[in-house]
Amino acid sequence: MPTLTIDNRPVTVPDGTKVITAAEQLGIMIPRFCYHPALGSVGACRVCAVGFKEGPIKGVEMSCMVDAQEGMVVATDDPDAVDLRKHVIELLMLHHPHDCPVCDEGGHCLLQDMTISGGHGRRRYAGAKRTHLDQDLGPLVQHEMNRCIQCYRCSRFYQQFCGYRDLGVTGIGTRVYFGRSEPGTLESPFSGNLTDICPTGVYTDKPSRFYGRRWDYERAPSVCIHCSLGCSLTVSARYRKAVRHEARFNAQVNGHFICDRGRYAYAYASQPERPRDALIAGRPATLAQAATQMSERLAAIEKGTGPDGIALMGSARSSLETQALLARLHSEKGWRTPCFSADDAATRVVSSALNTLNATNTIALTEIEGADTVLLVGADPIGEAPMLALALRQAQRDGSRIITVDPRPVTLPCAHDHIAVSGDDLATAVAHLIIGALEPSREIALDADQQDRFKTLKQETRDIPAAAELRAIGHALTTAWRPAFVCGTTVPDPDVPPLMGLLQALVQTSCMWSGLFFPLPGANTFGAHCLGGSDALFEPLLAAVEAGQVKALVVVENDLFSEYPDQQRLAAALESLELLVVMDCVPSAITARADIFLPTQTIYEAGGHYLNNEGRLQVATPVIAGGLSIMDTGGGNHPPREFREDIPGGTPRPAWQYVAGLATGETDPPDVKPLLDEALTAGVADGERVSLPSASREWPSIERIGAGPEGDAGGLTLIESAATFGSEPLAAFSTVLAELTPLFGVTVHSETAQRLGWRAGDRIVIPDSAPALEVVVTLDDRAAPGVLLVPRRIGIDRTALRRYMAHLLAE
């Protein structure tokens, strides 16, 4: 812990800290271009020069390249250093185009700031500037190479940090060029971060191109709700329209970056089709009319059927406020327990996964970066939780071994061992890992009872093709120092998470540190679970609707059609209801069927609390008051020249307010913390993890592992799983991401394709699908044989798809 003096102020920093970072701790911002805390130092730009007055080093040096050492005396205002910085800036500006007025970086441009603060106000160089041709990099990132100052941040980020190869550096001297070998859409799902890290306007945000300046934006800290990781965001909005997400630093969750799904999902909130008016039987009504009619009709139904005749449906994308009030509505009125997902299979896995987590085995996303072995079972990070893939990449760069056990051909931006295991065999696969960890190893001691249970486990566990490989990995886990265990919650069956918990608990005894990480299906699935929703399943609810026991259904921010597999059955059931109330902010398939529709606010207007996949409580601050953007009210021209008291299109209210209207009638947002405290019997603070039960050493019940899959082992299974684009219920409505959503396709092992008579590139038209659905066949031998893998896609005819696949399975 050296102590050094910077600008006459002492500071003590950990060993290995660079002087530039030490200065930051004193609030001194030394100019920098190439240095970035996530990318490290390369000393390429020479703009961070400072004077070293006393101590082991003397003279002008680059503060990003020098480790802080005891007794150093540093002066950032050393005349030689100031002069050097001034000349470096002038050099970097030699070829810089005269673009600021039309450049989207202007206003938050590091180069602008450094040029002004470096004192380079006037151009002296009269020669010709070198120029570059730009490339079309796809719909997200705009390229303007003239503005480059060769700091290499982009290529270091794209290739080293993210592990993608299609953007990099080429050329020498003044010809140095950053781009792709050919113009084309960037392959990385993290490409949007280029607009944040490039210190100049070479890469700018394309969807918000020419929309506004940083100083005009209304900005607020928020949380990404487009997967369960809950990355931290800063939202920018202007003239009643959210136009940009940027990554906000969060040391526990996302670090400095976010993924493109999270970055560009915001457009759902301003899409022209967004429902903004209340509807009664499909006809526009005022909010008051709709709300009154809702309460009256619900009361009438309750009179006839009793409280059991009314069911509540919440969602995993609602804020805790909304979820909590649904739970309260149930306890106050006695209506049926709210159900938060129509996908019961996933709900069961989530339930068992979250019951496996405890105070000592839960880890945060950034902790995975420090693991030396990461085992992923039934988890596909790029599709389910993209930033997890980036964390794995960092672990792998540090020498960590990544192992994926999955029926899908999991693709990661880093080297990893993949073991294809069919979906039904995942629990057995983990059992083999446990056997491998315990069998030949002297590292892990078991007591007599555990010995017995282990014996049973061994007897019951079936042999699967990858058994030997899995056991070897299991054994290797016992020699790891910092193993992390990741388990998905959509593809595996409910037995897998507790088994992963067992494996982690066993390995824990022989290593320094280990932990569990479970990506969940929705942004606030953890919240739904905490507020008591995990036990309420959808299937019984649907059966009750079909049996006529439930006469009214209140659906809050959930498109049941994208969650429930049998759309036809669902449609028929909804048809039989006396009253269907829907509250939502996107034009989902269910809104058109609502008897009463109430438009809800988005996270930008309502804000809210969310619990991410490890139970961290995070807050989203409202950014705008709501309403149609001025670009819309003015039809592209100036705002209407009229005075009015309301905001056009500003009808929607937060969903929780409608729910509160049915229960307690309160108009202020509920305080979620006491509600959580009640549910969890422990306190919780913003940004902190909720208190989980303390560690239990119990072995989960293992009777069922040996059962094996039903039906013959040669059968086919259909797996629908999340993809980066097109699967998440809100982001799927983002007009910005529409172009990136790939053609709908099915991925199979070539053996399976042969059995089915499919060839790569075949297009299968699904019979009787509406809208007509075409499926492109892709072959991938890393998939488990027998698995038909399709992405979850909002708005497709899943009934027809499933019918067709079932017919294939039957043959």
């Binding site: 007025p101 009269a126 303007e144 010809r175």
Partner: protein, 195 residues
């Protein structure tokens, strides 16, 4: 300074000074002499609005948006004028216009608020926004003081006859590709290995 009368209470005021007859007469004569002297002179009062004076070109009154020498809109909707305006009376929305140009979809100045300080003109990097000597634009209806882009846009260059921003910038626009701007070398061939 006004004094609290209660504080004066009890204090004796100085006695008023007597004016002599000669002094009064002198004052009367000087007064009349001054008046008579001016009677014969040409009046300096301008008979506005019957008479209107030509103001210098740099006087600061009604604002216009000018065009470049090629007749295209100069304003690139960079938001610098609206940022610098001390009373925040400029608002606009930038969009991508024809041929990759950045331009204002709408541009509004509320002259009810403008204090004609000229900071917008000083900040403008394209010479688009300019103050003119035309000070006669009071309105009775307040909304009439709110000028839209069509009210502001003129079809001349104003005080700056030469400047065309897009000839100096590096961005490619219709007819002015990379490397074709003032003081620009042709685009480099990144695939060349020559030193």
């Amino acid at each position: 300074m006004t004094q609290d009368p209660s504080q004066l209470k009890g204090k004796s005021l100085p006695p008023p000074r007597e004016t002599s007859g000669a002094e009064a007469l002198k004052a009367l004569v000087t007064g009349f002499a001054t008046t008579l002297k001016h009677l014969g002179r040409r009046p300096i009062t301008e008979q506005y609005p019957e008479e209107k004076r030509e103001l210098p070109a740099r006087s600061r009154a009604r604002i216009i948006l000018t065009r470049d020498p090629d007749g295209a809109e100069r304003c690139v909707a960079c938001y610098l004028c609206s940022a610098v305006c001390p009373v925040s009376c400029i608002s606009m929305q930038s969009i991508e216009g024809q041929g990759g140009r950045r331009m204002a979809a709408w541009f509004r100045i509320n002259f009810g608020r403008c204090i004609y300080c000229g900071l917008c003109e000083e900040a403008c990097p394209t010479s688009a926004i300019q103050l003119t000597p035309d000070y006669e634009h009071c309105q009775r209806a307040i909304l009439k003081s709110v000028y839209e882009k069509e009210d502001l846009l003129v079809d001349h260059c104003g005080k700056d006859p030469d400047y065309n921003f897009y000839r100096h910038a590096g961005v490619a626009t219709e007819g002015l590709d990379k490397g074709r701007h003032e003081k620009e070398a042709p685009p480099v061939n990144v695939r060349s290995n020559m030193p």
